[in-house]
């Protein structure tokens, strides 16, 4: 893949960098160009992406992503580390959607919770 000035890749790179394209074309083709050029993600960093990931996965499962999560989607597409995390979480979420995930019984200590009163107003809902 040639990136020398005048090459097709170099020209496409220039097109992506020119802000008017982002303005007049919407983000889908520009993002596609970034992916073809294998560019680093722009917009949000990995920490922001990680924090938004649970909501993004849920929205993807529910087919309700919309423009809200577009920058997260683009980041994941171009960032191998976040994409690895995303795929692992997505696979588990898809399994959990089918039914309860099998697990052997464990001894979980819930003593960090305040002990329940006999029966509170909240329990009587």
């Amino acid at each position: 893949m040639s990136k020398r000035p005048g090459s097709a890749h170099h020209r496409l790179h220039e097109m992506v960098n020119r802000s008017e394209f982002t303005g007049c074309l919407g983000t889908a083709p520009v993002h596609f160009a970034r992916a073809v050029l294998n560019l680093r993600p722009a917009g949000v960093d990995c920490d922001v992406c990680g924090a938004a990931l649970p909501g993004y996965v849920e929205a993807e499962l529910n087919n309700s992503c919309g423009p809200l999560y577009r920058t997260v989607r683009h980041h994941i597409d171009l960032c191998p580390a976040c994409c690895g995390l995303y795929l692992d979480l997505l696979e588990v979420a898809l399994l959990a959607e089918e039914g309860p995930l099998p697990a052997p019984p464990l001894r979980i200590d819930l003593s960090f919770l305040e002990p329940p009163a006999e029966r509170s107003a909240c329990d009587v809902q």
């Binding site: 008017e20 849920e58 309860p100």
Partner: protein, 286 residues
């Protein structure tokens, strides 16, 4: 598919409420989720229906109507779980944490075989869920948040010990790239015809059409590559939607996407025409 009721953006077509109730009830029973008492079920079902009606949960392109109801029920129950985990000193809170613990165990067992590690990580994940539940941005994604916490706990467990441990990230999945021209791909193109494309301005539509032609030219020998690239980049479909439409695991779709991109990247003519397409609609060179 049993066409006994239809999920629309306005909820379920009328007259099927009993069936709808049963479906939601099945979701709760199957998971042994007990925060919704029998007498609260009608109100819960109404919330599930509202979630579908307002578009919070939408049908995926190839999903069955039951799947949409099931996802909506889980989404609404996440709100219940979230609320209950904050109800300090109540039986309800303990019940919620017991249910979270079960789910966290299942998730942990997907990532880790050692039961002691699972035990330790689930325990600390629950503690985090209690201490940091205010970090949850959308209570409807509470279970997704917990799954991420469990994931980080397992990853973090091995880190200080400097052990090489494979949390099963990046399992190699055969991409099945030689299964060509099958019915699924044909059905994919048919379904795509009904999916509204994003950014539907004239300029974008023009570029999309040019790119579609180019993608078909470069990837002419592989229908799946074409489907994944067009679906993901030109129609902004999600990986789960693509996986469902092509009936492949999500990781497999990811592999297909990466390989298809490699092919496009290596095709100088494609890149040149891509640049041309962008340049044309933006009004020529500067």
């Amino acid at each position: 598919m049993e066409a006994s009721y239809v999920v629309t953006t306005n909820g379920l077509a009328g007259g099927w409420m009993t069936r709808y109730d049963r479906l939601v009830s099945d979701v709760l029973c199957q998971r042994d989720w007990q925060l919704v008492a029998q007498e609260e079920l009608p109100a819960f079902v109404q919330r599930v229906q509202a979630t579908i009606a307002d578009g919070t949960v939408k049908p995926r392109p190839s999903a069955l109507p039951e799947d949409t109801v099931r996802r909506a029920a889980i989404h609404v129950y996440c709100h219940e779980l979230y609320r209950a985990t904050g109800a300090d000193g109540t039986l309800r809170q303990h019940r919620a944490f017991a249910e979270l613990a079960r789910h966290a165990q299942g998730v942990a067992c997907r990532y880790e075989d050692n039961p002691d590690v699972v035990q330790a990580c689930v325990q600390s994940a629950l503690q985090i869920a209690w201490e940091k539940r205010d970090q949850v941005r959308d209570p409807g994604s509470f279970l997704r948040w917990l799954e991420q916490v469990v994931y980080y706990e397992i990853k973090g467990y091995w880190k200080p010990q400097h052990r090489q441990h494979e949390v099963p990230m990046s399992r190699v999945v055969p991409a099945g790239e030689h299964e060509e021209n099958d019915e699924l791909v044909q059905r994919f193109w048919e379904t795509l015809a009904y999916v509204p494309p994003p950014d539907d301005q004239v300029a974008t539509r023009q570029v999309r059409e040019q790119l579609w032609t180019e993608v078909r030219r470069v990837l002419a020998d592989n229908q799946r590559y074409q489907a994944v690239i067009v679906g993901y980049y030109l129609y902004e479909l999600s990986l789960p939607a693509l996986a469902e439409m092509l009936q492949r695991p999500v990781r497999n779709i990811y592999v297909l996407k990466s390989r298809a991109l490699d092919r496009l990247r290596a095709d100088e003519e494609f890149v040149r025409r891509f640049a041309d397409a962008l340049e044309t609609v933006s009004g020529g060179r500067t």
